[in-house]
C-alpha cells in the first residue's frame, strides 16, 4: 500500500480586538491585565464579550503576576511545541485579583511538588513579543495573596494589533486500495488502469474506489489509453510559481481511449493556438517521471464530436 509523508504547515495571522490587544501588549511589558464584567467578575485572560451576558466589556484592570493553582495535571512526556521540554504540570492558575483561571505550564521538580491551592508566580520569557508565550511558564511561589485588581487604562506605547501563530501537523497519507493500484501500475509499467463500475459499467480514470453515480465500489480494472482525445481545454497565460513551463501553454481535459471520464494534462508539441477539441494526443514520458510529463498530438485525424460529447 502506498504511503507518503504529508505536512500541513501554516502561519495563522490574526488581528486582535481592543481587549486582547491590551492583554497581549501588557504581557510584553510584564503587566497582566484582566477585564471586569458588569457582574464585577474579573476575567483573566480577558475577553471582548461577557461569557454570560454577551455584552461588550472594556473595563480593564491590572492583576498580580502571582496566583493560586485551581487544578493541575502532571505531564511526564512533553510533546513538541509545548511550553517546557522537561516534565511539567499543566495548571489552571487564578491570578491574585482575578476570578477566573489561566491555562499554562508550571515548572516543578515532580508531581509531589504540585497540588491544587499551591501558590505560583509568572516566569517571564526573556524576549517578549506580545503573545501568551511571553509567559514562559509558572514557578512555585512562597508569598500569600496580597494584590487586588486595580483599574488600568490598557494603553501602552506601540500596542500589538495581531498575532502570527505558526502551526505544523505531520501526517502519513495513504491513498487507499484503488488509488494505490492506479499509481503502482502507472509507475511500474506506464500503464493507465481505470476501474469499471459493476452497476453502470462506466470506467473511471483515475479511479477513486467508488462510482459517484451508483455509490458502489469499483473493483474491475480496465487498461485505458495510452492515446486519447482532447475534450476541452484552456490557455494558461500566468506563470505558476515553481513551475518551469513557458506561457502561454494549453491545459486540457483528455478522454483516454476506453475511459468514461476525462483526466487533465498539459498539451505540448504543438503551438498553443492550434490545439482544438477532438485533437488526438498521446502521453510523453520524460526521464524517470512517475506520470506523463505532458501529451502531444498523435497525427491521427481529429475525433468526431459525437465520439466524445458525453465526456465533456
Amino acid at each position: 500500500m502506498l504511503t507518503a509523508p504529508l505536512v500541513v504547515e501554516f502561519p495563522f495571522t490574526r488581528s486582535l480586538g481592543p481587549v486582547q490587544s491590551a492583554f497581549l501588549t501588557g504581557l510584553r511589558e510584564g503587566t497582566v491585565l484582566g477585564v471586569r464584567t458588569a457582574g464585577r467578575r474579573v476575567l483573566v485572560p480577558p475577553v471582548e464579550y461577557d461569557p454570560v451576558t454577551a455584552e461588550e466589556i472594556r473595563d480593564l484592570v491590572e492583576v498580580a503576576p502571582t496566583g493560586t493553582v485551581t487544578t493541575w495535571a502532571w505531564n511526564p512526556s512533553p510533546r513538541p511545541n509545548q511550553p517546557l521540554r522537561t516534565p511539567f504540570a499543566w495548571v489552571l492558575v487564578r491570578l491574585d485579583g482575578a476570578d477566573t483561571a489561566l491555562l499554562h505550564a508550571l515548572d516543578a521538580p515532580g508531581p509531589e511538588a504540585v497540588r491544587s491551592g499551591m501558590r505560583v508566580r509568572i516566569r517571564w520569557a526573556p524576549q517578549r513579543v506580545g503573545a501568551i508565550t511571553d509567559i514562559a511558564c509558572f514557578e512555585p511561589h512562597d508569598g500569600g495573596i496580597t494584590a487586588r485588581a486595580v483599574p488600568h487604562s490598557g494603553e501602552f506605547a506601540d500596542p500589538v494589533t495581531g498575532i502570527t501563530a505558526p502551526a505544523r501537523l505531520d501526517y502519513t497519507y495513504s491513498p487507499g486500495r484503488a488509488q494505490t493500484r492506479y499509481l503502482t501500475a502507472l509507475e511500474a509499467d506506464r500503464r493507465t488502469l481505470g476501474e469499471r463500475c459493476p452497476s453502470c459499467r462506466k470506467v473511471y480514470v483515475p479511479p477513486r474506489g467508488a462510482c459517484p453515480t451508483c455509490g458502489v465500489a469499483t473493483r474491475e480494472q480496465v487498461e485505458v489509453g495510452p492515446r486519447g482525445t482532447v475534450t476541452t481545454y484552456c490557455i494558461v497565460n500566468i506563470k505558476a510559481r515553481n513551475l518551469d513551463i513557458e506561457v502561454p501553454y494549453v491545459y486540457a481535459h483528455i478522454a483516454l481511449d476506453g475511459a468514461d471520464l476525462a483526466l487533465h494534462g498539459r498539451i505540448g508539441g504543438i503551438p498553443y493556438d492550434q490545439v482544438r477539441m477532438g485533437l488526438r494526443v498521446e502521453p510523453v514520458w520524460t526521464g524517470d517521471g512517475r506520470y506523463p510529463d505532458h501529451y502531444r498530438p498523435t497525427g491521427e485525424p481529429d475525433a468526431d464530436y459525437e465520439a466524445y460529447k458525453e465526456l465533456l
Partner: protein, 353 residues
Amino acid sequence: MTRPMPARDVAIVAFAQTRHVRDSSADSEVELLMPVLHDVLDQVGLKTGEIGFTCSGSSDYLAGRAFSFTMALDGVGAWPPISESHVEMDGAWALYEAWVKLLTGEADTALVYAYGKSSPGEVRDVLTRQLDPYYVAPLWPDSVALAALQAQALIDAGETDEDALAAIAGRSRRDGARNPYAQLTGEHAQGDYVVRPLRRADCPPVGDGAAAVVLAAGDTARRICARPAWIRGMDHRIEAHSLGVRDLTDSPSTRLAAGNAGAFDAPVDTAELHAPFSSQEVVLRKACRLADDVVVNPSGGPLAANPVMAAGLIRLGEAAMRIQRGESERALAHATSGPCLQQNLVAVLEGER
C-alpha cells in the same frame, strides 16, 4: 411552560459501524465508509437515490486535506447532485441537522454518516488546533492534558478517585468484549500515567472507523423498520469558551440539553454516553441525573472504540439498536465535542408506545 413536542415523529431505523481499528491505511475514506453505507441501506431496503437528505460529519484536520469529505461523497452516489450537507463536527451533529430537515417535512428519509481516521496524524496534537487561537492553542495543550485537568478537579472536589476511574475503565472494556466492533476489549491493566491523574486505561483507544444511520419519519419509518427507535427530543448546547471560566466538575450544557430533549420527563433505562475519558463519565452521569440502575454504555462506549468524528453518532446508533432489539424502552444518547466536554448533544429515544 411546557416543552413543544417535535413537529413529526422521526426515528432511527438503521445503524451500522465498522470494526474499529488502530490503523486502516489500506482503505481510503470512501473505501472505509462504503460497507457501512451499504449495510444501513440494505437494512431498510432503500437505494442511495431513494434517500431524501444526506448529511455527514468529518474533519479536514484529521485527514490533513481541505474538503476531504467530498471524496467520501462518491460512496453515496452524489452524482447527479443529491440534497446533501456536511458538518465539520461529529456525526451526531449531522444527525441533528438531518432530524431538523425531516421535522420540516422537506424529506421523509435521511442518510447520516461519519468517519474519522486518526491513524495518519497525531490526534493529540491535531485536536489542539480547535482551541482558542490567541491564549490556548499556542501552548499546544493536548486532549489528554486537558481531560487530566478536569479529572484532577473532580478528584479535588471529592467527586471521584483513581479507583473509581479504574472501575469505569474496567467495566467499559469488559462490556466492549461483547461488542464485535470494539477496538479495545477485555481486561486491561490501568497502566502508567499518560498525563496524571489519567492512566492509559482512562484514555480512549486511538483508531479509525465509520458509522452510518438512516432516519425516517412517521409511517415511512414503520414501513421499513420493525421497531423504529423514535427520537422523542434532541438538543445541543455549549459551555463558555474559556476553560478557566468553567466549573470543570459540572456540565450545565449537558443538563440543559438533556432537559430540552425531555430526558427528565421520565426515567431512562439505558444511556450511551460519549465520555472519551473515564473521568468524563462522572460528570455526565451527574448532569444527566442517571439513576444507579441505568445501564451505562453497554457497548463499551468510547473507552472501547473512539473513532473521532463518528464516536458521538455511534452513541445514538448503539442506543437505537438497544431499542430495536427490545433491550431498552427509553434510552438517552449523548455526544460531545471539544475539550473537557465543551459542547454536548442529548437525544432521548423510545420504542413504539
